[in-house]
Amino acid sequence: MAFLLNCPNCGERNVHEFHFGGEATSRPTPNSTPDDWISYFYNRDNVAGVQREWWNHRYGCRKWFFALRDTVSNQIQETFWP
């Protein structure tokens, strides 16, 4: 339910204060092929394990940051600035 997420700016807050921004992906460069772009839009790694993902402190400081979360156990390992 409402577990705690450590915002690098504000400290530990109720997860409902945040907005989940999805898995961290790498943006295509100007040299990328259409396949790269399709992958960037529609494909995700979706690992069963630790993934780097975006979080936004929507109802707080509204800053975007990274979290390392184990998608199997739902435990947050670390939060840090991008």
Binding site: M1, A2, F3, L4, N14, N74
Partner: protein
């Protein structure tokens, strides 16, 4: 007065929560019932002789008080239009209107109880709330099933209870449960100067100490005393501590990730986030399994103890206490102490973690107190003996074949004879003593056993373990450690010492 027709109140109990000077009256299905301030609906109804509180969902079997602590669905009633209220936790208010649920036309005469006799038509597991064929009957079936399904009715014209306040709260430590463990934990944390929130679901702190009259001793930092006395001292210290915040009458109904506790406190939902949580919720009693164990009048021992100690109501008479550990003995003793006649104690033949010495002591107490009641002013000696062989308890054999089996079971092994004696006068125990002796039975031959049983005959049926040490039974043994009289069944020498002290016999 109508409510007093079968008054089941006991004389004032030292630990009761009710105020006998404050009387109130409420209605139960139109009938006027008397109650005191502090009574719950269930305790007041029980005092007025009402034993059926509701009817079962499916077969409409009668239901009475079972747990007395708000943990089972037996006592659900409709209070002032609110359905499914637990009668055993709902405090009585003046002019309350309590109605039964799930029975028509009345609790005592429920036409739908015919379903109990039609169990073969709707066996366990048969889903009686859905209908498939024939489809044209669905309209009618739906209306009938709708009436039979569900529990409780909502009065759609009444003002709905929609105002549940939400409150967020933070604490360093949260202790769930206000019994002895929770109180001690809260005090230990507060001693470190750390803030604690103590949450308990009962109206008064103390947990099972409030109705556990057994004498407690050996507790560090606390003087010995009865359960309620110890509770009083602990609660006093908790109240006086500046670091402990108390939430009484509050049920912690969930514990979520990162120590989020959700608590229902009246009409307030508290979401408590704590750095650490201590769970001190104690144990629940489990009912014994036997045919018809759901009938009114069959209740958990703690429910009977709550009725006696907290509300001054007799659980019913006569009584049978069945137990598998020593907690039940205290319930039996409580029944006697409360001035109600007749308690038979059935004890399981497996010790199951119960202490045989405590059992013998409690039974000796029971016997002495029972006889005391009939002979006021007299000094009564009660004694009991239990034979314990590796956790199995042996009683007096019912017949010779059983005596043979017992002796074969004890052959070649070491067993203990526990004897307890209790001296009482006028309903109060003056002195108790218990002792154990260790006996090693030798590996006797089958022919010796046959000869022994033939010679002793029915005389062996009077002894636990089927031997008489004072006679030829001594030949069964290889070694004996302990007092001779203890083995015979009564620690005579300590008893004589006590009687000399009292001046009953010459010193």
């Amino acid at each position: 007065m109508a409510g007093d027709s079968q008054n089941q109140r006991l004389k004032p109990q030292p630990t009761e929560l009710i105020d006998r000077n404050e009387r109130m009256e409420f209605r139960f299905d139109g009938r006027r019932v008397n109650a005191h301030q502090g009574d719950t609906v269930a305790s007041a109804l029980h005092a007025a002789g009402v034993s059926i509180l509701s009817r079962g969902f499916k077969y409409h079997r009668p239901r009475g008080l079972l747990c007395g602590a708000g943990r089972c669905p037996n006592c659900l009633v409709n209070v002032d239009g609110v359905p499914n209220v637990r009668a055993c936790t709902q405090p009585v208010r003046q002019a309350m209107n309590v109605r039964h649920q799930n029975a028509w036309p009345s609790l005592n005469l429920d036409f739908l109880s015919v379903l109990d006799r039609l169990q073969w038509l709707m066996p366990v597991g048969f889903y009686y709330k859905a209908f498939h064929r024939p489809k044209f009957l669905w309209g009618l079936a739906q209306r009938v099933i709708r009436q039979v399904g569900g529990l409780g009715t909502i009065d759609i014209d009444a003002d709905p209870v929609t105002n549940y306040r939400h409150r967020y709260h933070h604490s360093d430590v949260a202790v769930v449960g206000g019994g002895p463990a929770g109180l001690a934990a809260a005090l230990a944390v507060a001693e470190q100067g750390v803030g604690v929130t103590l949450v308990d679901d009962q109206p008064e702190l103390g947990g099972h100490l409030l109705f556990n009259s057994r004498n407690l001793s050996g507790l560090p930092d606390l003087v010995d005393g009865s359960g309620p006395e110890v509770a009083n001292r602990l609660v006093q210290r908790v109240i006086e501590s500046p670091h402990i915040e108390i939430l009484s009458g509050a049920t912690v109904f969930a514990h979520y990730q990162d120590n989020l506790l959700t608590i229902l406190h009246g009409d307030e939902l508290v979401k408590l986030r704590a750095k650490s949580v201590v769970l001190a919720t104690g144990t629940y009693e489990v009912p014994l399994q036997f045919q018809n164990n759901d009938l009114p009048g069959i209740m958990l021992a703690t429910a009977a103890q709550r009725l006696i100690h907290l509300y001054g109501v007799t659980p019913g008479d006569p009584a049978v206490v069945a137990t598998v550990n020593d907690q039940g003995y205290q319930a039996a003793v409580d029944r006697l102490n409360a001035g109600v006649d007749g308690a038979a104690v059935g004890r399981s033949l497996r010790a199951d973690g119960g202490d045989a010495t405590a059992a013998a002591a409690a039974l000796a107490d029971c016997k002495a107190l029972e006889v005391c009641r009939r002979h006021p002013g007299a000094l009564v000696i009660g004694a009991d003996q239990i034979l314990d062989c590796d956790g199995v308890w042996f009683g007096k054999p019912a017949h010779i074949e059983r005596a043979r089996d017992d002796l074969l079971a004890l052959r070649g092994r070491v067993h203990r004879q526990l004897s307890a004696v209790s001296v009482a006068r006028d309903g109060a125990t003056l002195w108790r003593h218990a002792e154990a002796a260790r006996l090693t039975m030798r590996d006797f031959s089958q022919s010796f056993l046959d000869g022994h049983l033939a010679a002793q005959g029915d005389g062996l049926l009077a002894c636990a373990g089927a031997y008489r040490l004072e006679g030829p039974g001594v030949q069964l043994f290889a070694a004996i450690e302990g007092d001779y009289f203890t083995i015979l069944g009564l620690p005579l020498l300590p008893l004589l010492g006590f009687l000399r002290e009292q001046g009953v016999i010459e010193g």
